[in-house]
């Protein structure tokens, strides 16, 4: 390949519009979810083991760092799911225009924020 080939997309010099912010956060949350799955599976494993195991979950998640960890997992899931559903809607041709895309992006942030707050209420 010609190494002197000009590259004109230097992301670090570009101001991200709201649609791009939704997109990159969907990517970041997806990567985080791989680790979150391990946490959630561990919870499933422990909760199904025995009645004591089930009870120990709420005990283990009573400390603040553990609560923050669980909240982060749920937040990543909530955000990724909402932004993912927007993908599916757009695949069906809904909200594909520039205006629709922007409105959808703002909507994703609002809905995800509400769900993340609710998840926090649930954990605490």
């Amino acid at each position: 390949m010609n190494h002197k080939r000009p590259v004109n997309l230097d992301i670090s010099t570009i101001k991200l519009p709201v649609t791009a912010k939704v997109s990159i956060l969907h990517r970041v949350s997806g990567v985080i979810l791989v680790a979150a799955v391990a946490v959630l599976m561990w919870m499933l494993d422990t909760s199904l083991e025995s009645a004591e195991g089930f009870a120990s979950i709420s005990e283990i998640f009573s400390s603040t760092p553990a609560k923050l960890l669980l909240w982060a997992c749920l937040a990543a899931l909530a955000y990724h799911l909402v932004a993912g559903l927007r993908h599916l809607l757009m695949d069906m041709g809904i909200g594909e225009s520039l205006e629709g895309g922007k409105r959808g992006a703002v909507l994703v942030f609002v809905i995800a924020l509400v769900l993340i707050v609710l998840a926090g209420v649930w954990v605490w």
Binding site: G30, V34, L48, L77, L81, G84, L85, H87, L88
Partner: protein
Amino acid sequence: MVTAATSFGRNGLADWVVQRASALVMTAYVFFLLYFIFATPDFGYEAWKELYSQLWMRIFSLLALLSIVAHAWIGIWAVLTDYFTTRLMGPKATAIRLVCQLLLAVVLVTFLVWGIEILWGL
């Protein structure tokens, strides 16, 4: 063109479809679990254990697990092939990406086997 050797379905359209289908399965699973936890009158160990002893729930859970594995493989493939490129990382990029994908494969197979053990109480 990006070589398709490490993608999931060996072509972009197949991966695209699997990514969407798995997203729907996982979404259904998440909503179902939330519904179950909040709608069960005396939610606790008994109800939880009972739920996961049903064959249909084990199959539903296995489907969700398979969805996670396929979805994460395709998703992380997209991320790695975007950033771990020779343009961004130099000539070692492909080797580094393959090591990452190998590690991911180990993690995902672990999820799969561990999940089956959890579900069937092994």
